[in-house]
């Protein structure tokens, strides 16, 4: 145990690979600890169906977190993701009233997500506006449209087959959402860590000017990342709408912060330039396990928020404090 502490070095000075490795080890340790603590704390925790139910706490958010991780590594951010869910869900709900079937609904969900992402991407890359400002604006804009359309009403009456995305099981306790989460994790892992596109994202995040002079089409990469984030929000909207079976304009309120928390907890630098998909995957499990474990103990939601916040600060601050303390 003590030997691993040498692998928690100063983040700015050590080689990338080693830093990532130690970060994930640390997170994995936290995940395992939480798993063990949960098993002892509640007799209901170790049950295949209960654990399967628990994954619904994070799968949809994690899907967005993958794209968000890429975006944050490139030095941008998208705070409108939860509002894109609301907009896409509202569009799907409106389509249901016109008698559109499941394939059409999926196409609309993905299409609205892509369009919203393209809108964000256009404002950031073409007009050169800061992404945090643009997406705070579109956060209100997209959800505002949903509120204008729906008011205090709800869309319901989704077709039976549409329920599969959020409520269906591929095999035994493996839900469709969990399988989709796993597939997307692999895809995003390969894209970020094994492709030129992935290297370009790191390059842009570390030094945008340098990236331009290296021949990377910075604006185009960033635009693609906004598109991807919008698309993932569309996918999350399909899953969540299917799981709820109805659409209200308040759907997924506050998710943008949970997604960003997941990404940062996963070891992605909020300043851009570093981070990994395996880290985000583990962070998703950590957050899911913590909220479900505390839920089993009937801990009030507000205490859960405090716990998540404290955990985020602790996991990020401890390695830094550790190295500072060792120097003295």
């Amino acid at each position: 145990m003590n030997s691993t502490s040498h692998f928690v070095p100063d983040r700015l000075q050590s080689p990338l690979a080693r830093r990532l490795k130690s970060w994930e080890t640390l997170l994995l340790g936290v995940a395992v600890a939480i798993f063990i603590a949960n098993s002892f704390a509640s007799p209901y925790f170790l049950n295949a169906w209960n654990l399967s139910d628990a994954t619904f706490n994070f799968t949809e958010k994690a899907m967005i977190a993958f794209a968000m991780a890429l975006l944050i590594i490139s030095g941008e951010i998208d705070l409108s993701v939860a509002s894109i869910i609301a907009l896409a869900s509202t569009a799907m709900g409106a389509a249901v009233q016109l008698g559109v079937g499941t394939p059409g609904l999926v196409a609309i969900g993905l299409g609205v997500g892509l369009a919203a992402g393209a809108f964000n991407g256009f404002l950031v890359t073409r007009l050169g506006l800061p992404s945090i400002v643009v997406t705070i604006g579109t956060m209100s804009l997209f959800r505002g449209i949903a509120f204008i359309v729906l008011g205090d009403q709800a869309y319901r009456g989704y077709p039976e087959s549409f329920a599969y995305f959020g409520q269906g099981y591929v095999w035994w306790v493996l839900s469709f959402e969990l399988v989709l989460f796993a597939v997307l994790a692999v895809i995003y892992g390969i894209v970020l860590h094994k492709t030129n596109f992935g290297r370009a994202i790191y390059a842009i995040g570390n030094n945008p000017t340098g990236a331009v002079f290296s021949g990377i089409r910075v604006q185009r990469v960033k635009f693609t990342l906004f598109l991807l984030t919008g698309l993932m929000s569309g996918i999350a909207a399909i899953c969540l709408t299917s799981r709820l079976g109805s659409t209200r304009p308040s759907i997924a309120v506050g998710w943008e912060l949970e997604v960003v928390t997941m990404v940062v907890l996963g070891g992605v630098s909020i300043l851009g330039g570093s981070g990994s998909i395996p880290g985000v995957v583990i962070a998703a499990f950590v957050m899911g396990l913590v909220t479900f474990g505390l839920g089993l103990l009937n801990v009030p939601g507000i205490v859960m928020s405090i716990f998540i916040g404290a955990m985020l600060i602790a996991v990020i601050a401890l390695p830094r404090l550790w190295t500072m303390w060792r120097r003295h």
Binding site: A33, I36, A37, F40, L240, F292, A314, V315
Partner: protein, 330 residues
């Protein structure tokens, strides 16, 4: 001690601290509310604890999300299903979105009822309304009549002309008018649930009908605006403002005398009744089916209609004698 160890032990200690021992043979009833930290629901939880103490060997799990979202309630419900609670009594943030999660709960043998804010019939065994249209219609007329021994003119200040709830209550109120001889309903006006419009409508009523004895506002916005209009016109004691209001907002009106009494459902009774019913159903003492009569302990019993919906009681009346107690609750 390594960083990892520190975190692990911290997590383990925190988890252990929050752990609670569950008794196997105890009946566990979960009261799921729209969001924690709302006075109305804290009061309902008080009523639930009262019912649990009366029933004996019953544990109340009072829980809910931080925000009034359906997603938050689903997470809470999933955690309750995992714990295998005996019953879930929920006030829903979304009548439809909770249905899949609650269906799953019922599939696993959990008794599910909704109260206050209902769930679609597929997702619950029964729904407990705080009151019924007929009971509310009768109550608002009675509130006015109680303070008019010689009879006289009354007027209704409603929300919008299209408000489903209010229109149904007003219809029910008109239907019981013959039971109150001497009470003369002279007008029904609409303040659209806007404070300023309601205020002007109340002023208009007093100008048009100089002998007006009471303004009945079956809306929390209207009653407050009417109270303000009567106070500003210096007609306290001449025109009594009554209807449906919130104790926290109406305390000043009751103190000034502009309002003799008003009504709204009592959240303590509601939490008590929901818990009692959930316990009755979960223990097999009663069955949720159309026409069934289920005990609510000290409140009496509820009879279910064709959609397995029942009404608890008359709205609870608030006046100078109890406003102090309730104004801090909701």
């Amino acid at each position: 001690m390594s960083v990892k160890k520190k975190i692990m032990s911290t997590v383990a200690v925190m988890a252990a601290m929050t752990a609670t021992a569950a008794h196997a043979d105890e009946m566990r009833v979960a009261l799921v509310v729209k969001a924690l930290g709302i006075g109305f629901f804290e009061a309902a939880a008080k009523g639930a604890e009262e019912a649990a103490a009366e029933l004996g060997n019953t544990e109340i799990i009072y829980t809910g999300p931080t925000d009034t979202t359906a997603e938050g309630q689903i997470e809470v419900i999933n955690a309750l299903i995992a714990q295998g609670v005996n019953a879930i009594a929920v006030s829903a943030n979304d009548a439809d979105a909770l249905v899949p999660a609650l269906k799953k709960a019922m599939d696993r043998g959990i008794t599910v009822i909704s109260w206050d804010s209902g769930v679609a019939p597929d997702g619950r065994m029964m729904h407990l309304n705080p009151s019924s249209t007929e009971l509310i219609g009768n109550t608002i007329i009675k509130l006015a009549a109680d303070h008019m021994p010689d009879g006289g003119d009354v007027a209704i200040l409603s929300a919008t002309a299209t408000a489903t709830n209010q229109n149904a209550w007003i219809e029910a109120a008109k239907a019981v008018l013959p039971n109150y001889p001497g009470i003369n309903l002279v007008a029904t006006v609409y303040g659209d649930d806007l404070s300023d419009k309601s205020y002007r409508e109340a002023e208009g009523l007093m100008a048009t009908y100089p002998d007006l004895k009471a303004i009945i506002a079956p809306t929390t916005v209207g009653i407050l605006a009417a109270c303000q209009a009567v106070t500003d016109a210096g007609k306290i004691g001449q025109v009594n403002v009554t209807g449906l209001g919130l104790p926290s907002e109406m305390a000043g009106c009751v103190e000034s005398g502009a309002t003799e009494s008003f009504a709204i459902w009592n959240p303590i009774d509601l939490g008590y009744a929901a818990t009692y019913i959930a316990h009755e159903l979960a223990s097999g003492n009663a069955k949720a089916e159309p026409g069934a009569s289920i005990s609510m302990g000290r409140i009496g019993s509820v009879t279910l209609d064709d959609t397995n919906t029942g009404a608890m009681s008359d709205p609870f009346t608030y006046d100078a004698s109890n406003i102090e107690q309730f104004k801090s609750i909701f």
